[in-house]
Symmetry: C2
Subunit: 313 residues, 2 copies
């Protein structure tokens, strides 16, 4: 029997890779993607919908009858949440609640993956690294509050209504195709731009920061594994488990690409408040599902580099 996968925000960076992975594992899977606009991704069905429209969501879920729901749609920018807290909250917590209600009404057996964020941990001390799922949540932005509320709702729906929900706290993703609003994508793009003579030098913000990066292709395997085998009501960090100083990351890009541009600091790129170190532990998902990271940072950088070599002229 072909399983039915409902994926919100399917046409985004993670969604496209996830669809590819599901179809690799289950070539006959019936996938319905929901996004604001159709994207033309092959081998799936799509529906354009605004998830704030409760009745539309209810009807779509009822007509499709999902076995699995992966909720990738979100307003995931912390900066946007500070400038537009109401819209950020509605498009995170409220749309998730709408989806839960739609599933609860007719498909209580549906397995749901709730995507959360390392932002839920908030400001963390150096002695709390690596962050485990037991670390306290101290959400420090409107976005983070919305994510914690989503996780709490998942817990309540699991225990109170018996739904099968598994939650993630996802750390930084990288990989070919990510927009250049993110550090690694932006940095590798600049290396290619320098190599092609488009820019004379690289400007960088604060590089004295440690982050945990995981390739999107490992992320989607983790999501798939959690959907199939994650424990109901549990939360799992999705991360590499290793921290890297951003200045070391830049050196690694030099090594992998063989390009050595001049680098200049730009204080305007620094954010006012941020954690110096964010590194997670991935022991819990590994213990539960056997999932392991397979992409090295070098491999990710190389693939992102080749991606930009192909599209920048």
């Amino acid at each position: 029997v072909n399983k039915k996968y409902l994926i919100t925000g399917h046409s985004g960076f993670v969604g496209r890779y996830l669809i590819g992975h599901i179809l690799k594992r289950e070539p006959d899977a019936d996938i319905l993607g929901l996004d604001l606009h159709d994207s033309g991704i092959p081998r799936i069905r799509e529906k354009a919908v605004n998830l704030l429209q409760k009745d539309d969501v209810q009807n779509i879920v009822r007509d499709f009858g999902p076995d699995f729901l992966i909720h990738l749609a979100s307003f995931s920018s912390v900066a946007f949440s500070w400038s537009n807290p109401i819209d950020s909250f509605a498009n995170n917590t409220n749309i998730f609640l709408t989806l839960l209600e739609a599933v609860r009404g007719g498909f209580p057996e549906c397995r749901i993956l709730s995507i959360g964020s390392s932002e839920e941990y908030g400001i963390v001390g150096k002695d709390e690294i690596p962050l485990t799922e037991e670390s306290p949540l101290r959400p420090a932005s409107p976005y983070a509050v919305a994510r914690v509320a989503q996780e709490h709702l998942s817990s309540v729906y699991t225990r109170g209504y018996g739904l099968h929900i598994v939650c993630t706290r996802s750390f930084n993703h990288i990989g070919p195709g990510q927009t250049d609003q993110f550090f690694v994508s932006s940095m590798v793009k600049k290396f290619v731009q320098f190599q092609k003579g488009i820019i004379p030098e690289l400007t960088v913000g604060n590089l004295d920061v440690v982050r945990d990066f995981l390739d999107v292709r490992d992320v989607v395997v983790a999501y798939y594994d959690l959907l199939q085998r994650g424990a109901k009501g549990e939360v799992y960090n999705i991360c590499s488990g290793e921290g890297i100083l951003l200045s070391d990351f830049v050196e690694l890009i030099k090594k992998v690409t063989g390009v050595s541009p001049p680098i200049v600091g730009d204080n305007s790129l620094k954010r006012p408040v941020e954690n110096r170190i964010v590194v997670g532990s991935n022991s819990k998902i590994t213990a539960r599902t056997g999932w392991k990271r397979t992409y090295t940072l070098e491999q990710s950088i190389s693939d992102i580099y080749n991606h930009y070599l192909g599209i920048l002229h």
Copy 2:
């Protein structure tokens, strides 16, 4: 100068007592009450508004220019939140966020009191009693999730935008005028009904439960004190600090009223999952403001009894 108090849900049980206390302390206070309907409470201004209507809220706040905002309006029924999670969440968290945005836009000096609930603590162990503000939050109902999100938003708005918000976690209230959906009010009402020959006996649910009851007249003094002197960004339990077994409470009603009705158990009145013991510590508010409980349970019972004697025929 007359201070301006904006009170949402002002015509409810707590609101009416709060208005009385503010006017006792500041006879010239300028109070604007917001509720779905006008209530005719004297000496204040009222405006009928649905707090879900963001533009209306924005306009009202801008026109009034509050020095203080006390947000009492809520869908505070846990049972309702289980049957209507979307409406419960919207009418708790989202309306609070709308108010915060309205204040942030024009009145960053406004002092805000965010009313939370002991429900935020969720299922608690006996060894965690009394609950302090440091006790972990494990929200176990949609209502509780909404209250925790409200508290997290308060923290973010205090630290991120510099607003002056003080939060409460309020335990059980009692007092004359409370609806009989609540244990104490319902029980005393039944005593009066028995006394007047309206009912032949009392039916009761599970009385093997310990709760912390505080008279509403002490509650509103605590709220007023926190508005004036609560620490920005902090959370305070509002409770008596003393637990009482519900069966002992029934004995106390007998003693105070001199009425001894036959009492029969009714299992249908028992709720499936509930904490056996919920008792809070009020040390933090006392240390900060000097607030102390002044109404004994006997006094509360006597006043509720006389209230029902006056209105039941």
